[in-house]
Symmetry: C2
Subunit: 612 residues, 2 copies
């Protein structure tokens, strides 16, 4: 067989249906762990696989959905985890007879991760890692992570699987409610962003509410990501009838959705609870041999909280990253952090979010403070009050890691630069936690010329590639230097933005406030610089979100940078603005109009004819 | 002999000295026209030329300084203008014996041009044209226009000489007072800009205050222009001693300045009143065979009033062209113009100049008004109250011409576009009057894409070349279109600016106010656009100079575009500014600081180390 990922380029593949329903038919008692049958009733398991294979399944899910140490422990079977998973793979393989791919199936581990549950994130990672490593050893073609309700558990699973089964493709399915949101509050776009952070080979959705309600979620995923997509619906929402759980949708009703799935971009279609080989046979008949719909990759870097995604890049709204959660130069703020208090952090986060920041930089760097511990506390505390995605900002890798680990989204890390030591320390964290990173274009020194900053960008890019990251995982900080100190270097920042955009279509941010240091009228200086930088292609800025001029500048600059189609955002925002005037003045502008002068600008545009 | 202009590339050339002093020695009575001796005492004239030739002169000035129709009429000799000038050339040529270039000499025509005198500009042009045409016919190698005190008379002379002696190189010398200013108030930089408008082959200074005071003027010219330079000083300021006019500087004193002249960039050195072959012999000894100093051409377009020059281009201060002298949409203003009154124009000009406009657009287009007449009146009236250079703006070539003719500087014309008819109508006027022109990048339509606007720019450039203009005579208007109407086209304006700058190092302006038409917060929109455009390389804007935000934006953007070395201009201007706040607010910014928050920006810049 050709490798799965090659095959997916050409064909829509058919997954299998429910194992549980068929095993119950073969006598599996309610409440008994199906996974144990891999050892106790191997012929039944193999037979079910064979039925699905015969019905047209190109991929067979092993009977190991609950075969993690924690789930098996519920049946005192944790000691047989290795046998059970090996047997699961072997039985599927026998049934496949070389004509189907074997997906090692992994389900939720059975508890909740801290801070909401009592399993630590790393414990959860370890549970997933163990099962994945056994499945990989047994020789699966891919690993399926299924029926995840909690994005944080999915993250733990992805880290565990990548570590336990390196090089094995991952198919990652979340389960959504009828409103298109997971139990953890994540919408499809957010999930797509988080999963892309881990470079999952296939993402999708399974179980839950049935094909009709799942179709819109699939469609949203199809627009949100270029990753291969899979869908595995229940046969409708289960109902209880005569003391039994019944699924309302028949095989042909279910199969009638198959063309729509394909249109939405599905690459893999199967069935979940309530489906049988009959369902699969019909779906297979409709889709087999059909080429998948091509989807265009979005060029954006997407960062996400648990519930909100923010794209960064050309055409996306300009991203304001609030700089206020930072103790530098703030006495009370520093003291609060030193005392381990998050109250001021939380207050600032609320305020920045209310002021319109699209992401929040979180820096808790205070001397002698356990920054790793404080970062974890801060990330949790902020996540409880705002849904704005976070930028984890520390010079300590340990603090970056504790923040990334606990963060139930796709964070941006501030930052690496082109120094070897920093690259080797930080990039593995970005890879492990599926994050994205700001690549600061400094190295051993800060290059004056754009061309030398490009060399640092190239070094960062190559290092990122070496650690398994893609260019889309990096947002470059082009170094907005203090203009009053290094004027030409500051100007070269604009040229650097332009080069990164025109040569690589790379995404860029700058730390804005530094630019104006040492000058009067600082806001005027850095907001004007910001407009120039947006004109050069800048995608976001780390800045003071409380500055009203900044918001106006960004909205106006967005008009001329492809970030506000038909000026809609500007017009809407302007409704709540008043014109800016020199402080102390009540009227419009300095000076009174000359006799007979019109308002400052004519009431209609001059035509070209009038101007020539 | 190789052509003069070829020779100047390699060698400093020596001019002759005073003709008058030597002729007096040969019996020329005080008050008698020396030019008449070309016919009456030809041997004496030829002998003086021969003396200078023997002393080392590479260029001989013909004895025709006063041989214009108007000057000869003072001696009832206007009927012999042809003979006198022909003889003047012939006598110099005989003396030269093929070893010196013959410069047909032209001095002031003897009256003052309107509006200060009663000779019309075209009458003056005609007088110069007539003499130049005779000199050219007689076969001079170049024409020297000497001892001009009034820049407007120089303009008339240049137009006359170009028309009377097409293809003959021009050496144009003004005479400066001890303060480095001409009688008409023009400083060397302004004169250089005006003379460059006529592409004079050599410019410089003669007569007047002697070498010591003239050297700084030469040095300023050397920095202001890449045109070949000539200097021809008096032997010091004349004094009266024993009833005779005596020049205080001896030959060796005068000659001691020769090395400094060469260092300042002089290509041609001679002597004026009070100098004799002895002077020339010493100067020749010092400079002959010495290579001229190379000067780097300034890439700027320079526009000028009679007394002030404004450069346009990269590195020069950003140019604000006031848009207020324009009757469009202004009832009272239109009525004033319709009544032939200039009072409102003058008031607006004063106010725009006071508001900091660097140039003033002058548009007097009111239906049924004689626009040519009104333009002339407006240009004169404005020139009486402000020294700001003017932009002559009309859709009628007749109005452009009447404005250009009367304007004693180097105007910018608003505008041509890429339409054949307009190009053929306007470009000859630009050439004749030594003006510069805005090239609007529209043609039969307004191209959306930058690349298509570049095609219009190329068409304009080629047409300009055909009419004898250089790329430096053109400032392109990249068409700042209304963003709410044609958003992508408006964005392409920025790309057009970038292309013009990066591919041709061309100069660009936009008409700013149009951009924001139809949107709320118009100033925010067009000032933000302006910052973006300056970032893309924009050199100037036609705009509302009364908008305080605009001035702050321009000053701040100048920091990042190489237009304000060491931030000096910004810091100085900021002293008189107050921060901009939303209208109605007294305090700094919206929202009050969070507990423990520092001021909006930290008191010191974060180091790169702190940021990573
Ligand atoms: Zn299910
Ligand atoms: Zn299922
Ligand atoms: Zn003289």
């Amino acid at each position: 067989m050709i490798p799965l990922l090659e095959r997916l380029k050409k064909d829509i593949l058919i997954l299998d249906g429910s194992m549980g329903a068929l095993l119950q038919g073969r006598g599996l008692p309610p409440g008994y762990a199906p996974d144990l049958w891999n050892l106790e009733r191997p012929k039944d398991i193999q037979a079910v696989h064979a039925e699905y294979r015969a019905a047209g399944s190109d991929i067979l899910l092993t009977n190991t959905f609950g075969a993690s140490r924690r789930r098996l422990a519920e049946y005192q079977a944790e000691g047989r985890i290795r046998e059970i998973n090996h047997a699961g793979v072997e039985l599927a393989r026998r049934a496949a007879q070389g004509k189907a791919y074997i997906a090692g199936d992994i389900g939720p581990f059975g508890s909740t991760i801290a801070p909401f549950g009592d399993t630590t994130f790393e414990e959860a990672v370890g549970i997933f890692r163990e099962q994945a490593s056994i499945l990989a050893e047994a020789g699966v073609d891919l690993i399926a992570i299924e029926t995840m309700f909690d994005i944080q558990e999915m993250r733990a699973a992805l880290i565990g699987v990548r570590e336990g089964a390196p090089g094995v493709p991952i198919m990652a399915f979340m389960t959504y409610n009828a409103d298109g949101i997971t139990d953890s509050g994540s919408d499809p776009e957010t999930v797509a962003a988080v999963l892309e952070g881990f470079s999952v080979e296939i993402m999708g959705l399974n179980c839950s509410v049935g094909p009709e309600a799942m179709l819109p979620v699939l469609e949203r995923l199809g627009r949100a990501t270029h990753t291969y997509l899979g869908i595995e619906p229940n046969a409708g929402l289960p109902v209880h009838r005569d003391g039994k759980t019944v699924y309302p949708l028949g095989a042909s009703e279910m199969a009638s959705f198959a063309p729509a799935f394909a249109d939405a971009g599905a690459n893999i279609v199967g069935g979940c609870c309530g489906t049988t080989p009959d369902y699969i046979r019909l779906i297979s008949k409709i889709l087999k041999g059909r080429p998948p719909r091509l989807r265009t990759p979005s060029p954006h870097t997407r960062i996400a909280s648990r519930t909100r995604v923010v794209p960064i890049g050309a055409g996306a709204p300009f991203v304001l990253i609030g700089e206020k959660i930072n103790p530098t130069g703030k006495k009370l703020f520093s003291e609060a952090i030193a005392e381990g208090r998050t109250d001021m952090i939380v207050a600032e986060a609320r305020k920045e979010a209310a002021a319109g920041a699209h992401a929040l930089d979180v820096n808790v760097g205070v001397p002698l403070v356990d920054e790793a511990l404080m970062m974890e506390k801060a990330v949790i505390a902020i996540g409880n009050v705002v849904s704005t995605p976070l930028v984890i900002d520390s010079s300590f890798a340990s603090a970056l890691e504790s923040g990334l680990r606990i963060y139930p989204g796709r964070a941006l890390v501030n930052s690496v630069n082109a120094e070897d030591e920093r690259l080797e320390e930080v990039l593995p964290l970005i890879r492990r936690y599926g994050a994205s990173v700001i690549g600061l274009l400094s190295g051993d020194d800060i290059p004056e010329k754009a061309i030398d900053r490009m060399k640092n960008a190239e070094k960062i890019l190559k290092a990122a590639e070496r650690f398994g990251l893609s260019p889309r995982d990096i947002v470059f900080d082009t170094l907005a230097l203090t203009v009053s100190a290094v004027q030409e270097a500051s100007r070269q920042t604009l040229e650097t933005i332009r080069l990164l955009k025109s040569e690589w279509n790379a995404h860029t941010v700058v730390g804005l406030s530094n630019v104006s240091f040492g000058l009067p009228m600082r806001k005027t200086v850095h907001d004007t610089f910001l407009a120039m930088a947006i004109g050069a292609g800048l995608d976001g800025a780390i800045c003071d979100p409380y500055d009203p001029l900044l918001h106006q500048t960004v909205a106006a600059a967005s008009l001329f940078s492809g970030r506000d189609p038909e000026c809609r955002v500007f017009i809407t925002k302007a409704e709540s603005w008043t014109p800016l005037v020199p402080q102390g003045e009540k009227g419009a502008a300095a000076g009174s109009p000359a006799p007979g002068a019109s308002p400052a600008t004519p009431d209609r545009p001059l035509t070209t004819r009038e101007r020539i």
